[in-house]
Symmetry: C2
C-alpha cells in the first residue's frame, strides 16, 4: 500500500451526470479509505448533488470548471478552446501531478485527444491505445487498441501487446496473460500486411506470452487475455460485440413475451438468466484505460451508472498502487523505442 | 423464366458430405422442376447415397471426380495439384459453360482460389468478393467482402458496393438497397485511410443508394442492406457475429438449466424462443456467393445441412434467371474499370 490515491473525476461527463457520477464517487470512498476524489465540474451543480449524501468530507473535494465539452463537439477544437472544461481541467491535474488519475464518462474523442495533448505519453511510447475490457465466457479480455488513431504500424502493435500484458497481469490479476493478435486465420502466414509484419515481431518478444493469432470467433470464448489489433479493427470488434449482444438479448426477450405460455416461462427463467447474463456485463470491471500516458486516464461508458463509476475509481487505485506506468517505462527502456518513425501523435490527432 | 438451370454440386465438401449434400439436392429438385443438378465427386459414394431416394432421374446426374480437397490443405497447391477433385472438376464445368453455377461446402480457401484461377473474373472486375448474407433484427444484410484478398483499394470497394447492390436487389429482392461502408464513426471525415478515400467515391456513384458510414454496432440492427468493407474487417465481422451469437445462446441455455425453477421455465419458453432465434439463422438464405466471376460460385457453410444446401441451389436459379452477371458486366462497362492498378488477382492469390 502506497498511501492515498487521488482521482480527478469528471462530474459533468456522460448521460447520467452528475447524479450517477457523484453517487459512484460516494460509493467508492465508502468502500476505500485510501481514495481521495476531486470532483471536477460546475461547483454549484456538484455541491447541490453532494448535499444529498452524508460522507467523509476529507475524501471528496471540488475543483471548479465551468465549461462542459459536449458529445457532438470536434474533439481537438473542444480541447483547445474550452480551457475551463471539466475534461481539460481534470487532465491538467494529472499532468501537474495534482491527481494520479482522471476518470470521465464524457466525449471519447475529447478524452483521447486530451490524453495525448495534455497529459502526454510516456517516453518511448508512440501511441496511447484505448484498452477496454470485454466480457467473455470465462472472464474478461483486454481489447487493445480501440482508440481514434487508426492505421497503426507493427511497432505500435508490439507496444500495445506489452502494455496490455502488464495491465492484465498487474491490474486485472491474470498471471502470465495470453497475448494474441486478431487475424483471419490461425496460421502464421495468414493476415493483412500489418499482421504479417507484426506477427514475427511479437513472436520474438520474450517478455510476453504470445500465443499467436486469434480469429474473431474465439474472442467471446475467451481465447486470449490480451487481444491486440489496430484501432479500426478494435473499434469494429467492440461495437459489434455490443450490437450483437444487445440485438440477441432483445430478440430473446421478444420471443419470451410472444405467447402466454412463454410469458409464464420467462417469469420462472428470469432470475437465473439475469445472473448468467451478468457475466456478460463488463461494467463490473470499470472503464477503459488509455495506456502509455504520464498518468492514468480512464474512459467509462457514456451511459455509466454509479457501479461502473465506482469500479473505474477503484481500478485507478490498483493501477497506481501497482505502479503500472513505472512497469511500462521499464519495459520500454528494455526494448528501446519501437517506432519506425518518430511522428508526433498530437499532430496526428489534430489531423483526424 | 429461362428454361433449365444447371448446378454443379460438390458432393464431397463439408462436414456433412455426402449425406446432407445429396439430401439437399433431392429436396431442391422436388421443389423445382427447372433445376438440373450434377453431383460432382466419387461416383460409387454418390450412387450409394442416391440409392436411398426415389427422385426424378432426369434432374440429377453424376460427374465423377476421385480426389477430395481437405480443409487443411494449402488452397493454391490443392487447386493446382488435385485436378480430379470435386472442386476443380466442378469449377471447370462452370468455366466450360457445362454448368451455370457451382455450389460447395468445402474448403473456403480452395473455393476462393479456384473461383479466380479456374472460373475467372468478369472483364473489368478487379477482385471477386465473397459476400455472405448475415442475419439482422429486420432480415438479412449482405456483407461484402469476407474473402481471402485483404488490403483492398478504394476502387475495389466501389466495385463491391455496386455488385452487392445488384445482388441484394435482384436475388434477395430488396428494392433500392441501402449501401453503407463500415466505419468507426458516422461523420464523413472519420475512418482509416482506405475508408476516407473510398467514401467520396461511393458518394459520387449514381447507381447505388449510398447512405454513408455504418458503425459495427448498427449492423445487427439492420442499419444497411449492403455492408461494404475490406476483407480483413469483413472476416472479423462475420466470425465475431458467429462467436458472440453462439456464446450468448449457450450462456443463456446454461442459465436456464441452472435451477429447477428455471428448468421448468425453459420448457415453457422453448418453442417461442426457438421461433425467434430462427430469425438469426442465415441458412434459410443459402450460401455466400463469390461475385464478379464468369459464372456463379456459391460457398455454403462447412457444417451445412440439407436445408442450406437446397437453398443455395435455389439461390443459383434466381441468380441465373435474373442474369446477375450480365447486370454486373453492364454496370462495369458504364463505370469503366475502377482499378487503379491492373494487378493480376490470380498472382495475388498465389502469394497469399
Amino acid at each position: 500500500m502506497q498511501g492515498v490515491v487521488r482521482v480527478a473525476l469528471d462530474a459533468m461527463g456522460g448521460d447520467n451526470a452528475p447524479g450517477e457520477i457523484i453517487k459512484g464517487a460516494i460509493d467508492a470512498i465508502s468502500e476505500h479509505s485510501e481514495i481521495e476524489i476531486v470532483l471536477v465540474g460546475q461547483q454549484e451543480v456538484i455541491e447541490e448533488e453532494l448535499a444529498k449524501y452524508t460522507y467523509n468530507k476529507s475524501q471528496i473535494s471540488i475543483r471548479n470548471a465551468q465549461e462542459v465539452i459536449e458529445m457532438a463537439e470536434h474533439p481537438v477544437m473542444a480541447i483547445r478552446r474550452k480551457k475551463d472544461s471539466s475534461i481539460v481541467v481534470g487532465m491538467n491535474m494529472v499532468k501537474n501531478k495534482e491527481a494520479d488519475a482522471f476518470v470521465s464518462a464524457g466525449s471519447s474523442g475529447a478524452i483521447l485527444v486530451g490524453g495525448q495533448l495534455i497529459v502526454g505519453r510516456i517516453k518511448g511510447i508512440d501511441r496511447a491505445p484505448l484498452a477496454p475490457l470485454i466480457p467473455t465466457e470465462t472472464g474478461v479480455s483486454l481489447l487493445i487498441d480501440c482508440g481514434a488513431n487508426v492505421d497503426a504500424r507493427p511497432g505500435h502493435l508490439v507496444q500495445f501487446a506489452k502494455m496490455g500484458s502488464i495491465y492484465m497481469e498487474h491490474v486485472v490479476g491474470i498471471k502470465n496473460p495470453r497475448v494474441a493478435i486478431v487475424n483471419i486465420g490461425t496460421e502464421e502466414e495468414k493476415g493483412n500486411a500489418l499482421v504479417k509484419e507484426t506477427y514475427p515481431r511479437l513472436k520474438e518478444c520474450k517478455d510476453i506470452n504470445f500465443i499467436g493469432s486469434i480469429e474473431a470467433r474465439e474472442i467471446p470464448h475467451g481465447g486470449a487475455d490480451v487481444i491486440v489489433c489496430e484501432a479500426f479493427v478494435g473499434n469494429v470488434i467492440l461495437k459489434l460485440y455490443e450490437g450483437v449482444g444487445a440485438t440477441l438479448v432483445s430478440t430473446i426477450k421478444q420471443g419470451m413475451m410472444s405467447t402466454l405460455r412463454s410469458k409464464i416461462g420467462a417469469l420462472l427463467v428470469k432470475p437465473a438468466l439475469k445472473k448468467t447474463l451478468k457475466k456478460f456485463d463488463a461494467s463490473d470491471h470499470g472503464g477503459a484505460p488509455l495506456l502509455g500516458l504520464n498518468g492514468l486516464v480512464v474512459k467509462t461508458h457514456g451511459n455509466s451508472k454509479a457501479l461502473e463509476v465506482k469500479n473505474s475509481i477503484i481500478q485507478c487505485v490498483t493501477f497506481t498502487e501497482q505502479d503500472i506506468n513505472k512497469k511500462i517505462e521499464e519495459c520500454m527502456k528494455e526494448i528501446g523505442n519501437c517506432s519506425e518513425q518518430a511522428e508526433s501523435l498530437a499532430d496526428e490527432a489534430v489531423r483526424t
